[in-house]
Amino acid sequence: MSVSSVLFYILSGLAIGSALLAVASRSIFRSAVFLLFSLIGVAGLYFWLHYEFIAAVQIIVYVGGIVVLIIFSIFLTQQIGVDLPRPIKSRSFFAALSSLAGFLLIALQFLKHTFRSDVAVKQDTGMQAIGHKLLSTGVDGYVLPFELVSVLLLAAMIGCIVIAIKPVNPES
């Protein structure tokens, strides 16, 4: 077993193990921290595949943005130190059963299937190539989804402000 495959097993173990702890922990703050470690493990997998840009984006957006937002909303809505109520036994049993069945179904499918790969030479996935592709208007360019995402982010920002703004209510 080579060093790189050992590294793969460590990273995927980190991702899967902390994801399991994140959905099983009864303290919601601990659950958010385990989610953070799981996302770091996924970013490590991207680094392992030499997709450095997407790994950096994963760390910046998920670890630096979404998890911090989740922790912020935990502080706004939960009492610290109070554990979540125990999940209903039958519900968690059936949830585990159905997710295990789904996992076995998917695993059986991809173990039976043989994937055909094309033998093209690996393209450069550095920052410069990504930047050129992202703003090119050619056949393989991605300028239209790029602009659409910018409009979507603006709409989401305005929507968040409108939803979360405190209503001016003189009676209460």
Partner: protein
């Protein structure tokens, strides 16, 4: 040297996806439901990157799909948290069992 195949990545990503499904079905707190959804989105991203790396190394489509999924996931998480905070103001709770009124 490279004994990690595509199936290893598919195994990891489907395990993450169904861990997310388990969390989504068994939890009742809205923030933990949001965390489970984030886990599922991440597993999809792993799939895109792994397929791009192993099956179509000459193209970059999987990478761009993952990039746009991350951007949309960030927008989705922000809107979801705004809704959760608004619901907390209305009901003083973010348990899904307490949000059982379909009118305003």
């Amino acid at each position: 040297m490279n004994e990690i195949t595509l199936n290893h990545f598919l195994f990891v990503s489907s395990a993450l996806f169904f861990i997310g499904v388990y969390g989504f079905l068994s939890r009742r707190n809205l923030i933990t439901l949001l965390m489970s959804v984030e886990l599922m989105l991440n597993s999809v991203n792993i799939n895109f990157i792994a397929f791009n790396h192993y099956l179509w190394p000459g193209k970059m489509d999987g990478l761009f799909f993952a990039l746009f999924i991350i951007a949309i996931a960030a927008a989705e998480a922000a809107v979801a948290i705004a809704i959760i905070i608004h619901m907390y103001r209305q009901y003083k709770s973010i348990d899904v069992e307490d949000a059982n009124v379909l009118r305003f």
